[in-house]
């Protein structure tokens, strides 16, 4: 799994899957090199019926390679009387981007969440936003993985849904440089008024594959800037178990950490440059993790991706 169900015991505090990140994507807008698409998906298997209205959902952008956010898109949802939800999206920069408060320039307010099959898209200048239930774009032979890498090409996610948030943004809003880092996180308010980071994700399957037990929660609650110091040993341990030497494993850990999705917004290439919906990240990572012993799960991309915004397929 990319980041689906990655907390120990699955459920984050409060028992709400709607703040469980499944995937993030960052790619150049097809047909328009001046804009990028950022997608944050949550709610694996749509276990929850909507977004958490107490939570803050964030897509973070590091513009100067210091593993700290310089730009953040912050999303918060509100329940609508009589049913439904709306979203407010804010663009925070500088210290506001690093912080956990729901602050920044309002990009969208009252954006309607789509629970049906037709996506409601809200536009503000060069920005577009969508939030709602969609087909899960992730593809993976989960059962083959659980069965010890005995892959059969059965895509567990072919008929699953998630709740997505998609943003179309001008590249100029992503900082002065084309080379950026992207990750996402979810935050929940605590009784003392602080915001606790519940989940986070940069590259696919870092937490799910490399972290054990309580480390999963520690990883989810850590900041990327802490990753190298705190989690290198865990990655080295898994890689050496697959036959890498310690020095080789340390070298790979140095690439995988911090857990940030690197993205050159001047390039339309896919993973490891950002991540497109159809990128077969699992094959790439299987090959890497197993030292070439397993190169594919025999599952390919879904056929239901849309050619236009929000790109996420119609829900099942």
């Amino acid at each position: 799994m990319a980041d689906h169900l990655d907390s120990p015991g699955l459920m984050p505090p409060g028992g709400d899957a709607s703040i469980d990140i499944t995937d993030i994507y960052a790619f150049l807008k097809p047909g328009d090199a001046t804009k990028s698409i950022l997608i944050l998906n949550v709610n694996p298997l749509t276990l929850a019926s909507g977004y958490n209205t107490s939570a803050i959902y964030e897509i973070k952008v590091d513009t100067d390679s210091d593993a700290l956010a310089d730009v953040a898109f912050k999303v918060r949802f509100t329940s609508v009387p009589g049913g439904g939800q709306t979203a407010e999206v804010r663009l925070a920069t500088g210290s506001e981007a690093k912080g956990r408060d729901f602050i920044g320039q309002i990009l969208f307010s009252g954006a309607v969440v789509s629970f049906g099959s037709s996506p409601t898209i809200t536009t503000n200048g060069d920005f577009k936003f969508f939030a709602g239930r969609r087909s899960d774009p992730f593809f993976f032979d989960l059962l083959g993985f659980l069965n010890g890498f005995q892959f059969t090409g059965s895509d567990f996610f072919a008929d699953k849904n998630v709740f997505g948030m998609a943003l179309e943004v001008p590249n100029s809003a992503l900082g002065p440089n084309a080379n950026i880092g992207v990750w996402a996180r979810t935050l929940l308010p605590q009784p003392d008024g602080s915001m606790l980071q519940i989940d986070r994700m940069g590259r696919p399957a870092i937490n799910t594959v490399f972290m054990h037990g309580k480390e999963k929660r520690m990883f989810n609650q850590a900041e990327p800037v802490q990753d190298v110091a705190r989690f290198t040993d865990e990655i080295v341990a898994v890689l050496t178990a697959f036959g890498y030497s310690t020095s080789q494993a340390a070298g790979i850990a140095g690439i995988l950490l911090p857990d940030i999705l690197t993205f050159d917004s001047s390039s339309s290439a896919g993973f490891l440059n950002g991540r497109k919906l159809a990128d077969d990240v699992i094959d790439i990572e299987l090959n890497l993790v197993t030292n070439g012993a397993v190169t594919t799960d025999m599952v390919g991309p879904h056929s239901d991706y849309l050619s236009d915004f929000p790109y996420l397929g119609t829900p099942h």
């Binding site: 799994m1 015991g9 699955l10 298997l45 059962l143 659980l146 898994v238």
Partner: protein, 156 residues
Amino acid sequence: MEGVDRRNFLKLAGMLGGSVTVGALTPTIGLLKLSTPETLTFRAVAGLPAPPLPAYASYVLEGNVNLGAQSGVITRMVLAGAPEAMSDIALPGLSQTIRVKEVLPGSGILRIRGEVADRSQIGAGESPTVEIVVDRSRGIVRAPFLGSTLNLKLQS
């Protein structure tokens, strides 16, 4: 085939190395709980996938088997989360109820044969007939999983 009737049950209990009290008490045979003298209840869990990868899910078997009548029900499911941090969320399409058809005692083991109750729950290439071995001496249950045989740890 050898069945287990009331008379043979005490032999079986002895073979499994425990003691059985007939009456109001709830006897046990090792990790196997006998809620009545002839009813065996057990729960067994294995992490998925096996090491060296960290377990991401848990394969859980829960059985309630009437040894005398050779009947009962065993459920199997895959729950999200490793055994030490298991959730109550079952991964869809992986839960089955197995109706017990036969119980065969062996040397320190119980061999339980059954059939998947709802044929629509059977995956491609999967047999509707299931054999589960309760090995009290090793504290494990051997059960099929997607064409493989896994050892699940018996829980008290």
